[in-house]
Symmetry: C2
Subunit: 333 residues, 2 copies
């Protein structure tokens, strides 16, 4: 599907839900960028829930967040139930401007909705010359290492670094071994999941995707990934004053006020040419079973370049839903 | 061995090498804390190389680092070849004081020696009420995911968060699946290493520890851990103006100026009681094969409490070396 067509229908659906035009554009660009990069779990699929949340009063389409500088480099943001990317971008703009003077600034956001793919934010900052870190918590879906029950969010971390000559480096990864979306996808296809991915509701290891849906995802990288995911949970919770563990709600449902936290750190540091080093990595001889050595973020960027020309594949059900929400005549995707 | 005895001999060895008393105390406390926590690879074993480096002129025992505030929250530190913990502590003190006013501050350190166990630094910051992140690069020992050759440091990350009532949370992990020290230990014992830990010098998977010594360690957690380790390499290199990849030297040899980088970020945020959540984690029913659910950092702290009373186990060879360096009569440990 042509990008413009998806954008137009998405904007119309958001307008119909009462979202001001500039906020709608921010929200839809985030979702489209996920589609472009090949991350449909964070793409247009999310539009329906966003609009339901507006209808249910747990997302305020007009809010941009109330900013309060706790200190010169520390911005506390009450998201006022605003749309995730609208609140996040306003916070980022504020701390980027501040970091130009102070060298580093932080935004800690509570009471805001799902901010989607973290890479989108840090890449924008790196395009402006900043090194940036983005963190966000989520519903508890991941089990502590050695435990039987989900108690930690999938807590993604994204980091972007300007590289001098080339495009910025950007990595964006959740701290669960796999996303719950991936497990649902396996369940929908009746496919088993690899051993080590998840536990069932009783806390026993399972390869049955349907059973894993009610269970817990493993942290990536065993005890080390558990330590990292838990550290991010505590750090974001503490800095943003957000809910923790199983108390977190509002990114997977349509009717509860979202109480997770988001943290951005923006650094205006020196710039060094890292592109030669990255070129060396790219040129490395691949190991058995690998076609080439990948740099994080680059496969998504290649996908985006291709899809900007060729358009994006949107699942029939998602496209039908979008059109219904936009109140437009059904058109095959 | 009694802690006091190890400290006294260590201090005498450092004094003999020309280290001023306050710097010697900082250096020895770092090494002793590693012994106390059960991390001998970062403990007294390192003393010999530190003293050799002083003798070879690539470590300056009197230097504390030259501080230059690039911006209000951004401290650039030329370590002046100083001892790692001396330079790091001086930088931390400066940014902690600054963060009390600005909410967040960063130190980017180059030209300093090995700073040892990162957890030591962030835990101290959290004891003072700060949330803190510590990063450090190292010699390239880790291979990119899907590559055959080491190109990335073991790049540890440590994060500490005050928890309110209880002791601070602290995690400290390298981004390699295992340390090179562990591989050497297997080789010394003639024991094989698990499959997936390392490649040999030709870039092929190996379970032969001796072969792995000349090869490359896998990133922890596959592609995700690779992305994180690389992000930390680029971020530290860029912010600190340090060497990158295979150009990094000076933490594993005795005669080359150390050109890795260190980055600390200190945040003076709100404080929330996270101890209830951590207590819930601790109380979780353990999975099959686990005795209990551990909180990162706590096993090391338990070990420290025990060893503060019982003393530390120091390998015979390490103890003999220390005594020789201190010029004291040989005493059995």
């Amino acid at each position: 599907m042509a990008l413009d067509e998806a954008r137009a229908v998405g904007l119309r659906a958001l307008a119909k839900a009462g979202v001001p035009d500039d906020h709608a554009r921010t929200q839809i660009e985030l979702l489209l960028d996920a589609e472009l990069r090949g991350v449909p779990s964070h793409g247009l699929l999310r539009l329906g829930r966003i609009i339901e949340r507006i209808g249910n009063g747990v997302a305020d389409p007009a809010a941009r967040g109330a900013h309060s500088w706790r200190a010169e480099g520390f911005l506390a943001v009450d998201g006022q139930r605003g749309l995730g990317p609208v609140v996040a971008n306003a916070a980022l703009d504020a701390i980027a401007e501040r970091a130009r003077r102070t060298g580093i600034a932080l935004a800690a956001i509570s009471n805001s909705n799902h901010i989607g793919m973290l890479g989108w934010y840090v890449e924008r900052m790196a395009d402006e010359g900043f090194t940036a870190i983005a963190l966000s918590t989520s519903e508890a879906l991941v089990h502590p290492w050695g435990a039987r029950r989900a108690m930690i969010g999938t807590n993604p971390i994204a980091i972007a670094v300007p590289t001098g000559e080339g495009e910025p480096f950007m990595m964006d990864t959740a701290t669960g071994i796999v996303s719950m979306g991936e497990i649902h996808d396996h369940a929908n296809r009746g496919a088993p999941i690899p051993s080590g991915w998840a536990l069932d509701a009783e806390g026993n290891p399972t390869t049955d995707a349907a059973a894993a849906k009610d269970g817990a995802i493993a942290p990536f990288g065993g005890a080390k990934g558990y330590a990292l995911g838990l550290a991010l949970e505590l750090m974001v919770t503490s800095l943003a004053g957000a809910a923790v563990g199983r108390d977190v709600v509002g990114t997977l449902d349509s009717d509860r006020a979202c109480n997770k936290g988001d943290v951005f750190i923006v650094m205006d540091g020196p710039r060094h040419d890292l592109s030669r080093y990255l070129a060396e990595l790219r040129a490395l001889e691949p190991a058995e079973g690998f076609e080439r050595v990948l740099i994080p973020g680059e496969r998504g960027r290649e996908c985006r370049r291709r899809r900007l020309v060729e358009g994006i594949p949107v699942a029939e059900a998602v496209w039908n839903r979008m059109q219904a929400l936009a109140g437009v005549e059904h058109v095959a995707g």
